[in-house]
Symmetry: D3
Subunit: 122 residues, 6 copies
Amino acid sequence: MTNEEAKRQFQAIFGEAGEQVLQRIESYSPRLVGHIYDYIAGNLYQDKSLDLRTRELCVISCLAAQGGLNEQLAVHVRTALRGGVKNEEIVSAIEAVGTYAGIPRALNALFTAIQIFEERNQ
Amino acid sequence: MTNEEAKRQFQAIFGEAGEQVLQRIESYSPRLVGHIYDYIAGNLYQDKSLDLRTRELCVISCLAAQGGLNEQLAVHVRTALRGGVKNEEIVSAIEAVGTYAGIPRALNALFTAIQIFEERNQ
Amino acid sequence: MTNEEAKRQFQAIFGEAGEQVLQRIESYSPRLVGHIYDYIAGNLYQDKSLDLRTRELCVISCLAAQGGLNEQLAVHVRTALRGGVKNEEIVSAIEAVGTYAGIPRALNALFTAIQIFEERNQ
Amino acid sequence: MTNEEAKRQFQAIFGEAGEQVLQRIESYSPRLVGHIYDYIAGNLYQDKSLDLRTRELCVISCLAAQGGLNEQLAVHVRTALRGGVKNEEIVSAIEAVGTYAGIPRALNALFTAIQIFEERNQ
Amino acid sequence: MTNEEAKRQFQAIFGEAGEQVLQRIESYSPRLVGHIYDYIAGNLYQDKSLDLRTRELCVISCLAAQGGLNEQLAVHVRTALRGGVKNEEIVSAIEAVGTYAGIPRALNALFTAIQIFEERNQ
Amino acid sequence: MTNEEAKRQFQAIFGEAGEQVLQRIESYSPRLVGHIYDYIAGNLYQDKSLDLRTRELCVISCLAAQGGLNEQLAVHVRTALRGGVKNEEIVSAIEAVGTYAGIPRALNALFTAIQIFEERNQ
């Protein structure tokens, strides 16, 4: 996949919210931005062992477990919802984070997810 | 669900490896063991918003991201495989952990997963 | 303990600040809210092996060590103070977090605690 | 407090298990060993805002929450028990870690604590 | 080194941004403030095994890897820049954090660093 | 850089210890192994904004701060030493981790580093 194709893949997967994250760092860290386009969008997300819905629920679990990553979590919640994941599937994955990484991490992830659910409802 | 039913659910979901973890703590922390039977097996895992396969891939992501939880990760890798998850789906979820929580966490999770894949191959 | 009693226990222990946290997630994650009422308030906090003051200092240590959990830390600092824990006991527990989890985690926890100390002084 | 007094305080507080940890690093990192004697034993632990029993339960919570610190956790469980903390108080603090930092972190801390409880019973 | 000299060292190393952090906690936790002056500024930073530039890049890596420490990260980015570290050296260290602690931790650290780069450019 | 060149770069940088890590996962996760060759060895480590010595001290700080990554830490300590970093520089970076991520994380990293220092002395 060429760099241009990878960039288009990135935009198709992560939309405007993802793109805005990269624009903030592009001129300072072209290496990291290039890596995100080429490896994440152009390679990792092209792996069809997991469908997009399962992948996004896994990434949401991974981000919520670590804590302090609300902005990135928001990008993946939006990507999941655009890909057809239902609110209650995201909630269920985060409830499991409560058990396996502590209730406070789950609460913070829910606050982020619910804010996005409600924006979309308006 | 009665406590006895929750205990049987636990055994059905997590098998012998899960049971052995709880036996090591049962006489010292009946509260935590009771909580694991009643809430995790009897409530969280009864939520059908996520099927068992998706749930286990999410929990594997959550554990791998935190690090230092190889024993618990092994229980969930075994549960996933017994539930029909394929090796390459687990590998794909862990590869995403490499991106979202660092390559070293992914390597450690892969070491644990691969050891279980190979035991089952023998 | 019935669900209603557990809910009253929760309100008695964590007060208005705790209640507000749960109201934000209640309609999306009744499972997690129910778990917090029934298990945390109705079971964990009923265990008298630790008195409330010691328990809250332990929970404050646990939250401060992980980082990124200021909102939950604030709830437990308020609960501790309402239960008669003195400012200097909380400061002393957080100073230990500086040694055992790094000075930056301790600084962040102190910022949160001091803000609450000062609100109560006014 | 002189360095020699701080060293004696350290030995009085943490015993042989603590001393062995420092002997492994002494010739390579005299700065860190000196810091542990002078600041931890000679200053932090001299602060009487928290009694030793409460302090150790807080430190156990702080270490258990972070994970991957079994050796240091063992030193503090031994210190707590020598200082008169009861097994069930340690278990209760770790059960709270299960809620506030995830069940897997609590399980690992319990494994470490129970091993020490059982050694002392023999 | 006397306490007064250590305090002057601290101000010389960390400047106004560092001093403001300590002023917020000084009256509540003189122990921690004293420790930061005496040990960090008066001892750790006097160790010439690492020059200031290398040390700050290491501390930036350590803070960025843990996450949720933006305020402390900002202090060390400013200290690094005042000490002659170039923007691209800080970016390169943070890019490595992306590989070894996950892309999201690196993105958050870059957001903090870039904001400081841009303030200084104005 | 071709894949073959990146692989040779990897071997030149990380030596036998690094190679052994990848051999354990190669047949299960060719994507992650390819990524490590191409991106880490072939791109990240080719960035000359940081020289190898500074880079390795930063990566050691990043790994030590997270905890539970002893095997990966060992690879980077060996790489640093082969590249001319002195024992006391590594010790100094880890002492800073004690301040910025907690003494226990620093102790564990020192145990790993000292074991390697001593193997090389024999």
